[in-house]
């Protein structure tokens, strides 16, 4: 079993990204949630960041001392909720 230090905690459940990994990236120069996403996959999972986005934004804000942006730079892309491909093929017109 992998050992988890007391301070470390999971930030992105879908992609299993730990806080320590996020802090690592921030310390080596990442400045935005988009950059964190490209480097660690945090936010790219099944829920598309619905769970981890606020945590990522807090981490960035804490490290860069910038305010949390009102409009996130992690954008939602259609479809808004997961949807079976077969459904999409049939009902795309009414999305």
């Amino acid at each position: 079993m992998e050992e988890i230090t007391v301070q470390d905690t999971i930030i992105c459940r879908c992609e299993e990204v730990m806080l320590s990994e996020i802090i690592n990236q921030l310390e080596s120069g990442s400045e935005t949630t988009k950059e964190l996403k490209l480097k660690t996959r945090a936010g790219m999972g099944m829920c598309q960041g619905r769970t981890c986005r606020p945590l990522l934004e807090q981490a960035v804000s804490f490290h860069t001392s910038n305010a949390i942006p009102c409009v996130s730079d992690l954008t939602y892309n259609t479809p808004i909720r997961p949807l079976a491909l077969g459904e999409l093929a049939r009902y795309g017109k009414d999305l």
Partner: protein, 385 residues
């Protein structure tokens, strides 16, 4: 004031690949990227390095030269980017396309590309996920794939290790010239004096060229891809469909219609298990808003070829803008009117495949050692004048 030997505008896969090669011959290379490394076109694309679909002749030769560099690139950079020689197939759905594909495979073999035609049974053996209604497919073991996100990051990191400075979140506002010569680059974070400016801004290259009064006709050709949840491996290598390839080639002589939204299958599975299902080709400027018809058409087309996709969950779509020049080849050249200004843009749907050779070609434009003449000649800007 900052001074650099060369300033590269754009930190996509093309700009970072150039930075890596220029760092060998310049003391100070600077990349100026307005956002993050690889977050535009190079982060909204498929992962395929496909040789078998290239036009025999020069396009195929260029692709082969780039593919050869990939062979040892991970070792050279010292950074893995999931390069995999997984092979590729072009699936043939209708008997009408069979004759065309037979000829296509023959031409490719003559051009030295290792590709063969498989009948239905052989194709299904290789790719059990295919529908039993397909007619057959091609197969080439030379096709490969990478993780494009990791690739740009790897080029950037390896460039930094060689001393390049990669400035992200920095936007180029203007380029100064004096007596027909480049003098420097004005960014929103300061001025950089330099003798060489390389325009590697992909689909955004025309706006950069305009700063020195040069007209570039590169257009954004939008592509949409569906991304699924992670599932266990069901797709091996990269899959294209003959419908699009046939339509593209046949329109030239027989007036066959290209499918709506320019849809042609591109299917692959990432190492993490997500399927990438594409794709469309449209000219709609830089409009990111997508009509649901496109998504459903991509889904419908893909599920005809791989029926088991119907139950897989789509978690998002991805929109990217291929830098389209019109003849399927990039522009890699010096601009004669503005000394010191180079263009390396317009790789359309092949930027991932062509990134490695592009770095070498730009280095050659600066070094002038006499290498790669035959590769640079057909990529000149003047072919559009």
């Amino acid at each position: 004031m900052e001074i650099a030997d060369a300033v590269i505008i754009g930190g996509g896969v093309i700009g970072t690949s150039i930075a890596y090669r220029l760092a060998d011959i310049c003391d100070k290379v600077v990349v100026v990227e307005k956002g993050e490394v690889g977050a535009q076109t190079s982060g909204s694309c498929d992962k395929a390095i496909i040789l078998q679909s290239k036009k025999p002749g020069f396009p195929s030769k260029l692709a082969q030269a780039s593919r050869a560099i990939y062979e040892n690139l991970e070792d050279e950079l010292g950074i893995p980017f999931e390069f995999k020689k997984a092979g590729g197939m072009i699936v043939i759905q209708s008997p009408e396309h069979l004759q065309f594909m037979k000829q296509f495979v023959e031409d490719q073999n003559k051009a030295g590309i290792d590709v063969k035609l498989l009948d239905r049974k052989e194709a299904l053996e290789k790719q059990p996920c295919f529908s039993p209604h397909i007619v057959g497919s091609t197969y080439s073991r030379e096709d490969a794939e990478v993780n494009p996100l990791l690739l740009s990051q790897a080029f950037a990191k390896a460039s930094r290790q060689k001393g390049a400075d990669i400035k992200t979140h920095t936007k180029v506002l203007d380029i100064t010239c004096e007596h027909g010569r480049v003098k420097g680059v004005q960014t929103d974070k300061g001025y950089i004096a330099t003798e060489w400016v390389i325009n590697a801004a992909g689909p955004f290259a025309p706006a950069i060229a305009e700063m020195v009064g040069v007209e570039l006709t590169i257009k954004p050709r939008r592509g949409v891809i569906l991304i699924t949840e992670k599932i266990k491996p069901i797709v091996h290598g990269n899959i294209l469909c003959a419908q699009y390839i046939a339509a593209k080639h046949l329109t030239d002589n027989k007036g066959t219609e290209v499918p709506p939204f320019g849809i042609g299958l591109s299917l692959g599975q990432t190492k993490s298990g997500n399927l990438l299902i594409g794709g469309s080709r449209e000219f709609v400027g830089f409009d990111k808003s997508i009509n649901a018809n496109i998504l459903s058409s991509i889904a419908a087309h893909a599920s005809q070829i791989v029926p088991s996709l119907k139950t897989v969950q789509i978690i998002r779509s991805m929109v990217g803008f291929r830098p389209y020049t019109g003849d399927g080849l990039p522009i890699i050249d010096k601009v004669p009117e503005v000394e010191g200004f180079l263009i390396a843009a317009g790789h359309e749907g092949d930027g991932i495949a062509l990134a490695p050779i592009t770095g070498y070609l730009v280095r050659e434009l600066i070094e002038r050692s006499g290498r790669h003449k035959e590769l640079l000649e057909p990529l000149k800007l003047e072919r559009f004048k």
